[in-house]
C-alpha cells in the first residue's frame, strides 16, 4: 500500500506547479515514514538483543538442570539398584506433559508466542511407581527434569519470539529500503523533472516577453 501511495511514474506526471507541491508533500511524508520505520527498527533490534542476552543464562540453567537431574537419577540407581530402576521404568505410568501455547501483544503490537508447561490438575497426582521400592532421589530427579523442561520451554518461547522479531525487522528493512532507494529517488526525479519543465517554461516566457518588448520598442522607434 505504502509502495502504491508513494511511487510515481514520470510518464503520467503533469508538469504543473500544483503537481510539484503535491510531490514535495509526498516526499516529506515518505521521509517521515522512513524516520518512523527506522525508530521501529531500532526498537525491534534492542528487543532482539534483550532476548539474545537471556539465552546463554537460560541455556546454562537448562543444561545444569538436566545434568543435575541425571546425577540424581544415577544416585537413585545407586540406592535402589540399576536393575530395579530399569524394571520399574517398564511399568511406571508416564507423565503427561503438555505445553500451553498462546500469543501476547509484544513490542510494536507484534503478536509474540508464549509457551508454558501446563500445570497438572491436583487430581492427577498419584504415585506412579512403588514408593517402597524406590528412593526419594527419583522424585528429586523428576522434579529437576520438570524444572529443566520449563527452562527448555522458555528457551523455545524466546527463540519463537526472536523469529517473529527478525521477521518484523526484515519487513521493516525492506520497507525502508523501498522508500529510500526506490520511492524517494522516483519522487526526486519527478520533482527535478517538473522543476526543469517549469524552469524551461519560465525561460521561454521570459524570452517571449523580451522579444515582445523589443518588438514594441522597434515599433515605437518606427513611429517616431
Amino acid at each position: 500500500m505504502l509502495k502504491r501511495a508513494l511511487s510515481v511514474e514520470l510518464t503520467g506526471i503533469h508538469p504543473t506547479r500544483l503537481e510539484l507541491l503535491r510531490l514535495r508533500r509526498r516526499k516529506k511524508m515518505a521521509e517521515g515514514i522512513v524516520d518512523i520505520l527506522k525508530k521501529d527498527l531500532d526498537a525491534l533490534t534492542v528487543t532482539l538483543f534483550e532476548y539474545l542476552k537471556q539465552i546463554p543464562a537460560l541455556r546454562d540453567e537448562m543444561r545444569n538442570g538436566f545434568a543435575e537431574a541425571y546425577d540424581l537419577f544415577v544416585e537413585a540407581e545407586m540406592l535402589a539398584g540399576p536393575r530395579k530402576i530399569e524394571e520399574i521404568s517398564l511399568v511406571s505410568q508416564s507423565v503427561d506433559l503438555n505445553v500451553n501455547i498462546a500469543a501476547e501483544e509484544g513490542i510494536l503490537g507484534l503478536s509474540l508466542p508464549t509457551l508454558q508447561l501446563a500445570e497438572r490438575a491436583a487430581s492427577t497426582f498419584k504415585p506412579r511407581f512403588s514408593l517402597v521400592d524406590t528412593p526419594a532421589k527419583l522424585d528429586e530427579s523428576t522434579l529437576k527434569i520438570e524444572g529443566a523442561l520449563t527452562q527448555a520451554i522458555k528457551l523455545a518461547e524466546i527463540e519463537a519470539s526472536m523469529r517473529e522479531i527478525l521477521e518484523a525487522i526484515s519487513v521493516k528493512k525492506r520497507q525502508i529500503n523501498r522508500i529510500q532507494y526506490k520511492i524517494l529517488p522516483q519522487l526526486d526525479a519527478a520533482i527535478r523533472y517538473i522543476g526543469l519543465i517549469l524552469e524551461e517554461t519560465e525561460r521561454q516566457d521570459a524570452i517571449r516577453v523580451r522579444v515582445l518588448q523589443r518588438k514594441r520598442k522597434e515599433r515605437a522607434l518606427k513611429a517616431d
Binding site: 546425577d71 544415577v74 544416585e75 540407581e77 545407586m78 540406592l79 539398584g81 540399576p82 536393575r83 530395579k84 530399569e86 524394571e87 520399574i88 517398564l90 511399568v91 511406571s92 505410568q93 491436583a122 497426582f125 498419584k126 504415585p127 506412579r128 511407581f129 512403588s130 514408593l131 517402597v132 521400592d133 528412593p135 526419594a136 532421589k137 522424585d139 528429586e140
Partner: protein, 361 residues
Amino acid sequence: MGVWKYKGFTHKVIVRKLGLIKQKDMTELAGRSLQDIFPMLKRTSYQTEISEIPVEQRNAVTLERAFLRNLTKAYQDIMKQSPKDIAALVSTILLKIEVNNVKTLLRAKAAELGVGEAMRLLTPGGRLDDEKCQRILHECDSIPDVVESLADLGYKAVLEEALSEYERTGVFLLFEMALDKYVYNEMWTATRKLKGLDGKIARTVIGIELDSINIKTILRCKALGISEEQTRHCLVAGSEILGEKELEEALGAADLKSSIEYLRKAVEITGARDYKRLLMNAQYEYDTTQLLSRLETTLDQGLLTTSLKMVKRYTPYYNIGLILAFLNLKWFEVRNLIAVTRGVEAGFSPEKIEKLLVLPR
C-alpha cells in the same frame, strides 16, 4: 526352650558378622575403578558369585545381581541354622527378596519382555529358583497366567483382588502395593509371635523398619502432593509405636514439616527412646537440608544403628538381637556395594558416593 536354642548358633552368626566388609574397606572401594573393585571383592564372601561373572560382562548391573544372590544365600543359611521361631521370622524377611522376584515376573509380563531379558532382571533363589522362573516366563502369556502359576507359593490369594482391580483400571502399582502389604504384614505377624526378650528386640528393630517405610511413604506423598486417600493405600503394617491412629494424624498434617513434627511428638509420648532418637535425627536432617533423600538416609542409618544398639544393650548372646543386626548389616552392605559400583561406573567422586552409603556410626 529359652536361651538353649541359641547354643552353637550365635557363634556361627558372629563368624558371619566378622566376614562382613569393614567400613574402612567399603569407603576405600568408593575411590577405586570398577576393574580394581573386582579383585578386592574376590577376597570377600562374594567370591563365588563374582567369579561367575564373565570378564566382558563386568558392570554395575551384573554385580548387583551377584550381590543380591549372595544376600539371598546368606539369609537362607541363617534361616536354616536358626531356631524354629527365629527361622519363621527370617523366612518372612526372605520373603522380601522373593516378593521382589514376583514383582519382576509381573513387570516383565506387563512390559512383554522376552525370557532372556526378564531373567536378566531376576535374582532367582529359594522357592523361586531359576527353573521355576524360566518355566513361568515360558508358559505364561499374560499377568493373570503369572498370578495363577504362583498359586502354589500363596501369591494367588495375595494378588487376586489386585488382579481384578488391575483388569478394570490397568494400574500396575496395585500389584506392588498388595505384595508390599503382604510381605510386611507377614513380617510383623512373625515378629509379634516372638516372646520375651526376643519379642522385645524384634518388635523394636522390625517395628522401626516398618515404621520407617510408612514415614518415608507419608512424607514423599506429602512432598508430591498425593492425596491422603492415595497415600493410605500405599501404607504397610505399622508397629504399636506408630500405629494406625498416629499415621492417620501424620497424614492429615498441613505440610511435610508438621507431619515430621507430629510423628516426633507421638513417639515422645510413648517413651520409645530408639524411635525418639530416630525421629529427632530425621527432623534435624530435614530441617537442615530440606531434602527427603537425606531424611531417608537418616532413617536407614537409624535402623542400622538401632540393630547394633540392641546387641550392645542386651548382650550378643542368647537373643535375636545379633541375628537381626547381622541381617540388617548384610542388607546395608549389599546396598552400599550396589551404590559404590554404580557410583564408580558413573564416575562419581568418592566423597559423593560416601554420602549415599549407610554405614554404622
